[in-house]
Protein backbone atom coordinates (compact mmCIF):
# COMPACT_ATOMS: atom_id res chain seq x y z
CA UNK A 1 0.00 0.00 0.00
CA UNK A 2 2.89 2.30 0.57
CA UNK A 3 3.51 2.96 -3.10
CA UNK A 4 -0.14 3.32 -4.10
CA UNK A 5 0.37 6.91 -5.33
CA UNK A 6 3.18 5.77 -7.61
CA UNK A 7 1.01 3.04 -9.10
CA UNK A 8 -1.87 5.45 -9.67
CA UNK A 9 0.44 7.97 -11.34
CA UNK A 10 1.80 5.19 -13.52
CA UNK A 11 -1.73 4.28 -14.63
CA UNK A 12 -2.43 7.95 -15.38
CA UNK A 13 0.66 8.01 -17.58
CA UNK A 14 -0.75 5.10 -19.58
CA UNK A 15 -4.08 6.89 -20.05
CA UNK A 16 -2.36 10.09 -21.13
CA UNK A 17 -0.13 8.19 -23.56
CA UNK A 18 -3.16 6.44 -25.06
CA UNK A 19 -4.80 9.84 -25.50
CA UNK A 20 -1.72 11.13 -27.30
CA UNK A 21 -1.81 8.16 -29.65
CA UNK A 22 -5.49 8.71 -30.47
CA UNK A 23 -4.80 12.37 -31.18
CA UNK A 24 -1.90 11.36 -33.44
CA UNK A 25 -4.17 9.00 -35.38
CA UNK A 26 -6.61 11.86 -35.98
CA UNK A 27 -3.62 13.99 -36.98
CA UNK A 28 -2.81 11.47 -39.69
CA UNK A 29 -6.28 10.66 -41.03
CA UNK A 30 -7.91 14.07 -40.52
CA UNK A 31 -9.37 14.91 -43.93
CA UNK A 32 -8.80 18.66 -43.89
CA UNK A 33 -6.05 20.91 -42.63
CA UNK A 34 -8.25 22.28 -39.84
CA UNK A 35 -8.95 18.77 -38.57
CA UNK A 36 -5.24 18.17 -38.29
CA UNK A 37 -4.77 21.39 -36.36
CA UNK A 38 -7.52 20.41 -33.93
CA UNK A 39 -5.74 17.10 -33.41
CA UNK A 40 -2.44 18.92 -32.93
CA UNK A 41 -4.02 21.24 -30.38
CA UNK A 42 -5.35 18.28 -28.41
CA UNK A 43 -1.98 16.58 -28.73
CA UNK A 44 -0.06 19.53 -27.28
CA UNK A 45 -2.49 20.12 -24.43
CA UNK A 46 -2.29 16.48 -23.45
CA UNK A 47 1.49 16.63 -23.71
CA UNK A 48 1.57 19.37 -21.08
CA UNK A 49 -0.03 16.93 -18.66
CA UNK A 50 2.50 14.29 -19.65
CA UNK A 51 5.36 16.72 -19.02
CA UNK A 52 3.94 17.51 -15.59
CA UNK A 53 3.51 13.82 -14.80
CA UNK A 54 7.13 13.23 -15.75
CA UNK A 55 8.13 16.17 -13.56
CA UNK A 56 6.27 14.56 -10.68
CA UNK A 57 7.73 11.11 -11.21
CA UNK A 58 11.32 12.26 -11.65
CA UNK A 59 10.94 14.86 -8.87
CA UNK A 60 12.38 17.69 -10.94
CA UNK A 61 10.65 21.03 -10.72
CA UNK A 62 12.35 22.39 -13.83
CA UNK A 63 9.99 20.45 -16.09
CA UNK A 64 7.20 22.77 -14.98
CA UNK A 65 8.99 25.65 -16.69
CA UNK A 66 9.16 23.52 -19.80
CA UNK A 67 5.43 22.84 -19.51
CA UNK A 68 4.62 26.55 -19.28
CA UNK A 69 6.75 27.39 -22.32
CA UNK A 70 5.08 24.54 -24.18
CA UNK A 71 1.65 25.91 -23.26
CA UNK A 72 2.59 29.35 -24.59
CA UNK A 73 4.02 27.97 -27.81
CA UNK A 74 1.08 25.66 -28.46
CA UNK A 75 -1.40 28.50 -27.98
CA UNK A 76 0.47 30.85 -30.29
CA UNK A 77 1.04 28.08 -32.82
CA UNK A 78 -2.64 27.18 -33.06
CA UNK A 79 -3.71 30.82 -33.27
CA UNK A 80 -1.12 31.42 -36.00
CA UNK A 81 -2.40 28.50 -38.07
CA UNK A 82 -5.98 29.62 -37.56
CA UNK A 83 -5.22 33.17 -38.68
CA UNK A 84 -3.31 31.81 -41.65
CA UNK A 85 -6.25 29.59 -42.64
CA UNK A 86 -8.73 32.46 -42.62
CA UNK A 87 -6.30 34.71 -44.46
CA UNK A 88 -5.79 37.19 -41.68
CA UNK A 89 -2.02 37.38 -41.61
Amino acid sequence: MANLPEILLQISTYFVSAGIILATLRLIIGPSMADRVVALDTFTVISISLITLIACMSERVIFLDVGMVYAILSFIGVVAVARYLEGGL
Binding site: M1, L4, P5, E6, L8, L9, I11, S12, T13, F15, V16, A18, G19, I20, L22, A23, L25, R26, S32, A34, D35, V37, V38, A39, D41, T42, V45, I46, I48, S49, T52, L53, A55, C56, E59, V61, L64, D65, G67, M68, A71, I72, S74, F75, V78, V79, V81, A82, R83, L85, E86, G88
Partner: protein, 114 residues
Protein backbone atom coordinates in the same frame (compact mmCIF):
# COMPACT_ATOMS: atom_id res chain seq x y z
CA UNK B 1 0.39 7.19 5.59
CA UNK B 2 0.69 10.19 3.33
CA UNK B 3 -2.99 10.68 2.69
CA UNK B 4 -2.51 13.83 0.61
CA UNK B 5 -0.38 11.93 -1.89
CA UNK B 6 -3.11 9.35 -2.36
CA UNK B 7 -5.73 12.08 -2.78
CA UNK B 8 -3.54 13.88 -5.31
CA UNK B 9 -2.83 10.79 -7.34
CA UNK B 10 -6.52 9.86 -7.45
CA UNK B 11 -7.35 13.34 -8.77
CA UNK B 12 -4.58 12.96 -11.33
CA UNK B 13 -5.99 9.62 -12.42
CA UNK B 14 -9.46 11.11 -12.92
CA UNK B 15 -7.92 13.96 -14.92
CA UNK B 16 -6.01 11.58 -17.13
CA UNK B 17 -9.18 9.60 -17.84
CA UNK B 18 -10.83 12.83 -19.00
CA UNK B 19 -7.82 13.58 -21.20
CA UNK B 20 -8.17 10.13 -22.74
CA UNK B 21 -11.90 10.67 -23.32
CA UNK B 22 -11.17 14.02 -24.95
CA UNK B 23 -8.74 12.41 -27.34
CA UNK B 24 -11.27 9.65 -28.00
CA UNK B 25 -13.83 12.34 -28.83
CA UNK B 26 -11.42 14.01 -31.22
CA UNK B 27 -10.92 10.64 -32.84
CA UNK B 28 -14.57 9.54 -33.05
CA UNK B 29 -16.72 12.63 -33.65
CA UNK B 30 -18.07 13.09 -37.17
CA UNK B 31 -17.11 16.67 -38.03
CA UNK B 32 -14.65 19.35 -37.05
CA UNK B 33 -16.89 21.38 -34.76
CA UNK B 34 -18.05 18.40 -32.76
CA UNK B 35 -14.45 17.23 -32.45
CA UNK B 36 -13.52 20.62 -31.17
CA UNK B 37 -16.29 20.47 -28.58
CA UNK B 38 -14.97 17.20 -27.21
CA UNK B 39 -11.36 18.26 -27.52
CA UNK B 40 -11.64 21.61 -25.77
CA UNK B 41 -13.87 20.72 -22.85
CA UNK B 42 -12.37 17.40 -21.94
CA UNK B 43 -8.75 18.44 -22.32
CA UNK B 44 -9.28 21.61 -20.29
CA UNK B 45 -10.82 19.83 -17.32
CA UNK B 46 -8.41 16.91 -17.74
CA UNK B 47 -5.38 19.20 -17.65
CA UNK B 48 -6.77 21.15 -14.68
CA UNK B 49 -7.38 17.98 -12.67
CA UNK B 50 -4.11 16.32 -13.64
CA UNK B 51 -2.06 19.35 -12.71
CA UNK B 52 -4.06 19.95 -9.54
CA UNK B 53 -3.48 16.39 -8.43
CA UNK B 54 0.25 16.73 -8.95
CA UNK B 55 0.10 20.06 -7.12
CA UNK B 56 -1.44 18.27 -4.15
CA UNK B 57 1.18 15.50 -4.28
CA UNK B 58 4.02 18.04 -4.39
CA UNK B 59 2.49 20.86 -2.44
CA UNK B 60 5.69 22.96 -2.76
CA UNK B 61 5.00 23.29 -6.50
CA UNK B 62 1.44 24.57 -6.12
CA UNK B 63 2.26 28.16 -7.20
CA UNK B 64 3.66 27.16 -10.55
CA UNK B 65 0.90 24.61 -11.08
CA UNK B 66 -1.75 27.27 -10.43
CA UNK B 67 -0.20 29.63 -12.96
CA UNK B 68 -0.13 26.91 -15.62
CA UNK B 69 -3.77 26.00 -14.83
CA UNK B 70 -4.82 29.65 -15.16
CA UNK B 71 -2.99 29.97 -18.45
CA UNK B 72 -4.49 26.79 -19.90
CA UNK B 73 -8.01 27.66 -18.75
CA UNK B 74 -7.70 31.06 -20.42
CA UNK B 75 -5.94 30.12 -23.67
CA UNK B 76 -7.57 26.81 -24.57
CA UNK B 77 -11.04 28.24 -25.33
CA UNK B 78 -9.54 31.21 -27.15
CA UNK B 79 -7.44 29.08 -29.47
CA UNK B 80 -10.30 26.71 -30.28
CA UNK B 81 -12.60 29.68 -30.92
CA UNK B 82 -10.04 31.15 -33.33
CA UNK B 83 -9.71 27.81 -35.08
CA UNK B 84 -13.47 27.22 -35.35
CA UNK B 85 -13.96 30.71 -36.76
CA UNK B 86 -11.23 30.19 -39.35
CA UNK B 87 -12.56 26.77 -40.32
CA UNK B 88 -16.09 28.08 -40.79
CA UNK B 89 -14.85 30.99 -42.85
CA UNK B 90 -12.85 28.56 -44.95
CA UNK B 91 -16.07 26.70 -45.70
CA UNK B 92 -15.60 23.45 -43.85
CA UNK B 93 -19.14 22.07 -43.66
CA UNK B 94 -21.09 20.89 -40.66
CA UNK B 95 -21.88 17.22 -40.50
CA UNK B 96 -24.96 15.78 -42.20
CA UNK B 97 -28.07 16.20 -40.12
CA UNK B 98 -27.07 19.54 -38.68
CA UNK B 99 -30.09 21.59 -37.76
CA UNK B 100 -29.15 25.17 -38.49
CA UNK B 101 -26.25 27.31 -39.63
CA UNK B 102 -26.99 30.93 -38.91
CA UNK B 103 -23.38 32.00 -39.29
CA UNK B 104 -23.39 31.44 -43.02
CA UNK B 105 -25.80 34.30 -43.62
CA UNK B 106 -23.59 36.64 -41.68
CA UNK B 107 -20.38 35.62 -43.42
CA UNK B 108 -21.86 36.04 -46.90
CA UNK B 109 -22.62 39.65 -46.11
CA UNK B 110 -19.43 40.29 -44.19
CA UNK B 111 -17.50 43.33 -45.37
CA UNK B 112 -13.84 42.43 -45.33
CA UNK B 113 -11.74 45.00 -43.62
CA UNK B 114 -8.03 45.51 -43.64
Amino acid sequence: MEWYRILGSIITLIGSIFLFLGALGVFRMPDLYNRMQAGTKATTLGTILTLLGIGICHYEWIGQILVIIMFIALTNPISSHALARAAHFKGIPLTKGSVADKLKEKESTEVEVD
